[in-house]
Symmetry: C2
Subunit: 368 residues, 2 copies
């Protein structure tokens, strides 16, 4: 636990004192990592003015929970029928002399909450809410540096894939190869399952790779993100297979490219969170591509692949400086395919050159 982590815990305690809590129990794995730099399996962080304690679960961790490449259900939630009765964090809170304990009600299960209440008899429980998530929104330069490396890893993996022969290979193989290449380039792992969609599957969000093989004339959409020191990015690109893209492919790609650029250019500190999505959506709607209900084109990213702020229609907050976000509009035409283009950028003021693009792989319509 470094000075940076200690400073974060200090800030959290200040927030809590204001609401009357003299101790905090942090259980969300991403929040524990943010405040300590480490994530032993199932550990919670108990924090008072005097002490910071990582509390391990009441049982030995199961045998298959090294650090997972994707965020996982921790064993304290799903392990066995017995573990809910032991809640060492509650006991520790009493030993620390806590009288008002703030807990993360959006993360803690009802069973664990009750167990903490039993073990910490006499201690009042408060809801911490998403206080730590809010502290996490604006990143420091070390966090941005880690995100930059995560993005570089994704770009390298994608760049290598584009140099290889694609026709005839299945979506599943291409996705596996991208995961392997990201690990080869130093990623902790893939931040989420790599999505590869060809032909009619292209342009879909969250397409799960199938055994469909790449064919001449296909659109190919790849969506990937590496995890580096816990920090993740997202990058989506759409290419075309073969030397001569069809007219509708060129046109659709140009439209999505313009929409994505409009969204990127709206990433200015102080702007409404809904602005980038609106900028992209106006162009797509004007061209006749409506989406009902609208799925947000972007969101914050960091220790989680999707975190605050949300950038969808109707979001009312303002964008802050040094907030990494994704911007990824797309169009999918059922049965034909489509285009999606997504970057991860850090919001920066125009005096510093405007939004910092992390995912630098070309967004042109490469013919592969």
């Amino acid at each position: 636990m470094s000075d940076a982590h200690a400073a974060r815990r200090e800030r959290l305690l200040e927030h809590c004192s204001a609401s009357g809590a003299d101790a905090v129990l942090v259980t969300s794995p991403a929040n524990v990592r943010y405040l300590t730099g480490c994530t032993p399996c199932g550990a919670s962080l108990l924090l008072t003015r005097e002490r910071a304690l990582l509390v391990l679960p009441g049982e030995l961790p199961p045998d298959d929970t090294g650090e997972h490449p994707y965020p996982v259900d921790l064993p304290t939630r799903s392990a066995g029928p017995e573990q809910d009765t032991a809640e060492p964090a509650g006991r520790a809170a009493v030993e620390f002399g806590a009288t008002d304990l703030a807990v993360e009600e959006h993360d803690l299960t009802v069973s664990r909450y009750r167990a903490v209440g039993v073990q910490a008899a006499g201690v009042r429980l408060h809801d911490l809410g998403r206080t730590v998530e809010r502290l996490r929104v604006v990143k420091d330069e070390q966090e941005v540096a880690d995100l930059r490396i995560a993005a570089e890893i994704g770009d390298q993996a994608l760049g290598e894939l584009l140099e290889s022969i694609l026709v005839g290979r299945t979506e599943r193989h291409l996705a596996m190869e991208l995961e392997r290449r990201m690990i080869d380039h130093g990623a902790d792992g893939a931040a989420f399952p790599v999505s590869v969609g060809t032909g009619p599957h292209s342009g879909r969000t969250a397409h799960r790779p199938t055994d469909r093989r790449v064919e001449e004339g296909d659109f190919l959409t790849v969506s990937l993100g590496a995890r580096y020191r816990g920090y993740t990015i997202r990058c989506t690109r759409t290419f075309v297979i073969g030397a001569a893209p069809a007219g509708w492919q060129v046109e659709l790609h140009r439209l999505v490219f313009e929409a994505q650029r409009a969204a990127r250019e709206a990433l200015v500190p102080g702007t409404e969170c809904a602005a980038p999505d609106r900028a992209a959506r106006e162009l797509l709607y004007a061209a006749g591509y409506r989406e009902e209900p609208p799925r947000p084109f972007g969101h914050g990213i960091g220790l989680e692949t999707r975190e605050a702020p949300q950038l969808g229609p109707g979001e009312t907050g303002k964008l802050d400086n040094r907030v990494p976000v994704t911007v990824g509009p797309g169009v999918h035409l059922p049965g034909r395919g489509g285009v999606r283009i997504e970057d991860t950028l850090v919001v920066r003021p125009s005096a510093e050159g405007g939004p910092e693009l992390l995912t630098i792989t070309t967004k042109e319509l490469l013919a592969l």
Copy 2:
């Protein structure tokens, strides 16, 4: 949703009526899958005598949650700051005329619980506890058939790896290759990150593959499991690299092999759940290999990689017929390495030939 799933929901409702609930909200993803055969992202199952309804979360699912190869935190838990306020399941319960709603307190977060309470004003909330988990313990023959295929996939992947050159390759590469091979053979994905431990890393539980390369004279421990139609198995084997294993390696492997056999032979319907672990542990302790605190050598397996029953020391239940379990004792000598051997078997009465071994890869000390 097939007849088998309908019959499972019927059984669950019978359990619930007995405790006075006229509706059930199932939120644990594995439980939703068990009762419906499907797992749309973040969906909950609301069940009454008259109806079964899959309730999708109050927001659109995020863009990176196709079906994950590993169990993941669903978006209703970690997505954004807003989604806790919408809890459509609560409203639906009211529309269904429920008066007593059983919920899974070990899975539901405090925030969602409160939201259900608000939306379902006037409806009493009960704790369903681990009722569905208990229904899941004894498998039907269709479930066993899926487990058998999952085991075959793991055996094929492992068999192919053993035929290739291993010296000089890193743990990470071997692990990635095994994951790819399992997918090639039809797995939904790896049930958990494949663990490959060489030399001093061999014999460890949950070893996270490193860049260490396989060397002559190493022990090599591989732990893997495929997921097939949601069902998972575990298989662990330890081999030696090079033609001439050292004396201590032969001896340690023989000991763990004998301990694992003793545990397997204790898998008889009606036996205490602690018996297989005890049988293995006695042999290891007699040879001077104590473990403090003892980590259980086995547990139930199925839709989750670790589920009821637990087979550790001190477990008091009895083993039932048609319960798939893992049996995986091992010894790890810090700095030197070790041996772990683990199978997945289905408990069967001796009249039917005794425990059914699913993971049939040889357990001999192969010199590769």
